[in-house]
Symmetry: C4
Subunit: 280 residues, 4 copies
């Protein structure tokens, strides 16, 4: 807290609370924000259920207003407390914060339920802020780095899956035709992906023996090639978790026994017994 | 068998039979109990099938009474034979034992089929006792420790899956609307999870081209990210089974440094430095 | 071909052809048998398709008679050519051979289509003979040993899955009730397994919000725990394939460079450069 | 650019552009070709959607003609610029190039919508050319080699899955019969594969308790054995990625023994014994 910071002492404090999480006030703020984001997402969900919206419209609207006002104040506080406000406003989270705040105000200015629906969806982007919190959980970064390392391989895999789907989907379209629901090549490709990924809705299903045979081939193919992304990611995980493990905490020991005390399990590079100190 | 145990000699014997499994009588008791628990679960199942319950109601009730009386006697024996009965009564398995015994008696005191149904469900908790037996199978503990080690990573994974489901579910709600069965955001999220986990009931299925395209993306996503929990657990298994396999070749070392030569990486149980032989 | 074998010289030759596969005649016999077993299975399949059976009944019956006569002769030859006929007759494959041969004869003695259907199913057991051939493919034994090693762990896993299914199935029965198709506890357990294994027929699907929520939990559970058998088997495979690999063909080398020729990648225990022979 | 190449200078340049990708012109050509193949596939898809084809038939036909003319010129250029034209024409990609070009011309010569449909499907084979581009992505070759290494094991696995499906499918046919949709053994086998691979359409579903029980067994089986291909591929990936990762730490050694000291395990490229320095 040098001279420089004095004039903006309260701004500095506000910055600490809003942007950081290493003070009790900062942690408390983060927890409240987290809870309100979750609550606002639940509100959006409940509003979409017709009979709940009809019965409890007033309560939902009141809560929504409460959250919107909190988000508005929070947004203003974020803009004020930061040194370079414009950098924040046009950053990824700055835009998300703005989009999370504005919809309710817009719904009074703009008309049309269709528009409101679309606006509501943007509001859901608030959950991305929760994703920021994931960073605090240490394990997430290990997951992320393993996925990043296998990114190219997975892209190649998805690319091959898509080509397979296009070819097999067209074949199914030729075999089955309109009667069984394979009304166009895109629809057939949709069905092929539904089958290849072992989802299997059953809204479209092959009727001809040849179609059922090809469907069988697609299923076994899908059942088999699921091994590929799993193999890629697992190999990455094994590697990264091995590296973590090797971090000086596990060493290779041999079956040598101490000539003095018979203790076993010495390091490969050991010259003295870890138990009695006798030369090995 | 010292003086102290004499007055309660039969209690000691009872304790051995009921709580332990290393005497022939104890083993026999465990097997009988196991069989009765399985039988009682099957009885609950059969009672729930209308036409079986109508035809064989008397037989089912008689068997149920037999099991309930056995469980009652067993519960009393457990309370008597233990030194600290209250500790048992309020322990996890003590409560389960009580809940497993009481329903049939309650069904005569309390009325209303709805209540009886709920009570029947509690009776099913008896199977948890079977889980205790799993402990005897050596491999289970290895499974358990591998799962425990990957717990945090799997929690992060489920967390990300849920956020994805909420966002994608809302998008599907906006795209598909009421006609295709996407009547509300919670229903859409339900459908998204059904699709993402490759279950795919087909009770709800997208109708619009854009909806089918997004569904396709969700499927491939689900097909791909199944690799993540698999990768996590497999890496754990490989590690734990490797440690077991290497039998004496890998040991855990700590970060302690030798006060004499500063060598690091000593065995947890080391008393002397492996490098210079100085006492640790 | 010593004196002893002379009286049964042709029996010995027959034995070689039928039971062994290391002579040209023996190999040819195995291939013919393999083809006929496959053909007979296809015949059973085609007979079960109503419109094919009606149109081509005579051809199917003629072919079936041909195969049955071949199998009869083969069975007699097997009994004659072996030294201990009774040991063969009551062995696993002896019984399967008998069951594979008898149905067509029985269909003329015994009446009733229901019986014939059942008998036809036994005929399908002939395919097990094909499984014997799998042994010749070297890789199969590695697969088998990996599966055998993870047998106990997989049994524990299935055991836990079944208990989970019983408990979750009962809960779904209590929540959903008769309306949504959850007519009894066994049906609910059936549905739970359909969901947990990510099969998802959709013949039964939850209707209530609470039921859909629990269904969602079951799906994510199933999506997650599929990692467990995969992890078990993969760890086994990695281990067994590593052992195969380590068979003297891969060694660990260090980053040491030869002081004479700068060649890198020497064995850890190398004392001379592999490239120029200079002392390291 | 020696004397010999002079007379065919422009052919050489054309060859460089069409067949190679290491000049700016070659790269540009590849990108244009890639875009046109994708566009042509999208055109085929859109043509198959009835209402799009009706509304925009003229635009689609014009674009199709444009692409066909480009493919025609490209095909002629490929034949001219290569030294051994017939080797190209009858090569795999030569035939695909021809088949990708001819359909539109044929549609004017030959009549019948059925034929045209089939011809359209061949046109889709153009995407195989895109697969050639996959080679440029480095990771693909690692994927390919891992899959190649596990080919035999996966073949054994699919073989066992098919036998299981035939046996279990026949059993389901006997248990369920015509009422539940199990109208023939092939249909039952189709259903079994749908269930075993966890696809689960739900177009056919067991109705009897015994059928549902067997279905449950099939599901758990399918849920479990998905671990096998995954285990196979993962073990391969772990191995291959380990080799790549260890960059200089693991080398392949052969079974050669030193003529001087009989030490074994020399690097493939070793010229001297690593143990005694003797020439190999």
């Amino acid at each position: 807290m040098t001279e420089q910071n004095k004039p903006s002492g309260w701004k500095h404090k506000l910055h600490e609370i809003i942007y950081e999480a290493d003070t009790p006030a900062g942690k408390f703020f983060d927890i409240v924000l987290f809870a309100l984001i979750i609550l606002s997402v639940i509100l959006v969900m409940l509003e979409s259920v017709d009979h709940i919206d009809k019965e409890h419209h007033k309560i939902l609207l009141t809560l929504e207003w409460g959250i919107t006002i909190f988000f508005t104040l929070e947004y203003i506080a974020r803009v004020i407390s930061i040194k370079k406000p414009f950098k924040y406003i046009f950053s990824f989270y700055g835009i998300i914060d703005f989009i999370s705040t504005i919809p309710l105000y817009l719904s009074y200015i703009l008309a049309g339920s269709q528009v409101l629906l679309a606006v509501r969806a943007f509001r859901l982007l608030r959950v991305f802020r929760i994703l920021k919190l994931v960073k605090f959980i240490g394990e997430a970064s290990q997951l992320q780095s393993a996925l990043k390392a296998s990114r190219t391989k997975i892209a190649v895999f998805i690319y091959v899956v898509l080509i397979l789907s296009v070819i097999l989907g067209t074949l199914m379209y030729l075999i089955e035709g309109d009667d069984a629901g394979f009304t166009s090549i895109p629809t057939s490709i949709y069905w092929t992906i539904v089958t290849l990924t072992t989802v299997g809705y059953g809204d479209i299903a092959p009727q001809t023996p040849l179609g059922q045979f090809l469907a069988t081939v697609i299923m076994i193919l899908g059942y088999g090639i699921i091994a590929v992304p799993t193999g890629i990611v697992t190999a990455e995980f094994s590697r990264s978790s091995k590296n973590v493990k090797d971090g000086g905490h596990m060493v290779h020991v041999n079956t040598q026994a101490c000539p003095n005390c018979s203790a076993e399990g010495h390091r490969d590079d050991a010259t003295h017994c870890y138990n009695c100190g006798h030369s090995l």
